[in-house]
């Protein structure tokens, strides 16, 4: 069964900490994405990557960075966590071809205290 795996289901971090969220896919997908999900706001794109070492900003990149050193792994980094980054973070991947849906991971619920 194909999968997108997010390393942590729940995380609690302190304000100012550097936080790493890891995502691994086993489908050989070219595209990978990080979204955050907040009630009433839906899913908002933080960053995406269409190839190794390539990245593009999404709609809300401020306070975040990403790393993609291998095709299967896409990391989201919160440089200095703040309470307004408390959210559900979803990783997704897709093929580099039109009309192909995303496969999402189960999410990481991050709480910044």
């Amino acid at each position: 069964d194909v999968k997108v795996t997010q390393s942590s289901r729940y995380l609690v971090k302190r304000t100012g900490e550097k936080v790493f969220l890891e995502c691994v896919q086993d489908m050989d997908h070219e595209n990978m994405f990080w979204y955050r999900q907040d009630p009433g706001l839906g899913l908002r794109l933080i960053y995406f990557s269409y190839d190794v070492k390539m990245k593009e900003k999404g709609d809300i990149p401020e306070g975040y960075s990403v790393s993609r050193e291998k095709k299967e792994r896409f990391s989201l980094i919160l440089e200095s966590a703040s309470t307004n980054q408390t959210s559900m973070y979803l990783c997704a991947s897709s093929l580099l071809s039109p009309y192909y849906g995303y496969t999402f991971g189960s999410g990481t619920r991050l709480t910044v205290v």
């Binding site: 794109l45 269409y50 995303y102 999410g107």
Partner: protein, 111 residues
């Protein structure tokens, strides 16, 4: 800027009834319109999708209706069942593979 507007925010439907969720978009460059279903504690999963060259797509009890001139599309769930209770997201894809999502609809099917 909300490029995909979804309504209603929540919906309660009786078992066996028809659930209808609506979305509207502004960007005429969108070329792919998927719907995702999300159960609590899970990530969204692709449910059904449509391209703008067709007006309707049906898969089992799920149908997408697409109105290109009005820039609207909707999800219809026929014979709604308690197992359909979930959050549904519409989305639209631009030319760079990115999906823009609606704000979600929490659907509850009551006996």
């Amino acid at each position: 800027q909300q490029q995909v507007k979804q309504s209603p925010q929540s919906l309660i439907v009786q078992k066996g009834g028809i659930s209808i969720i609506n979305c509207a978009y502004e960007n005429t460059a969108f070329d792919y319109f998927p719907w995702y279903q999300q159960f609590p504690g899970k990530g969204p999963a692709l449910l059904i999708a449509i391209r703008p060259d067709v007006s309707e797509k049906k898969e089992g009890r799920f149908t997408i209706s697409f109105n290109k001139s009005a820039k609207q599309f909707s999800l219809h769930i026929m014979d709604s069942q308690p197992g359909d209770s979930a959050t549904y997201f519409c989305a639209a894809r631009g030319g760079n593979e990115k999906l823009t999502f609606g704000t979600g609809t929490r659907l509850t099917i009551i006996p």
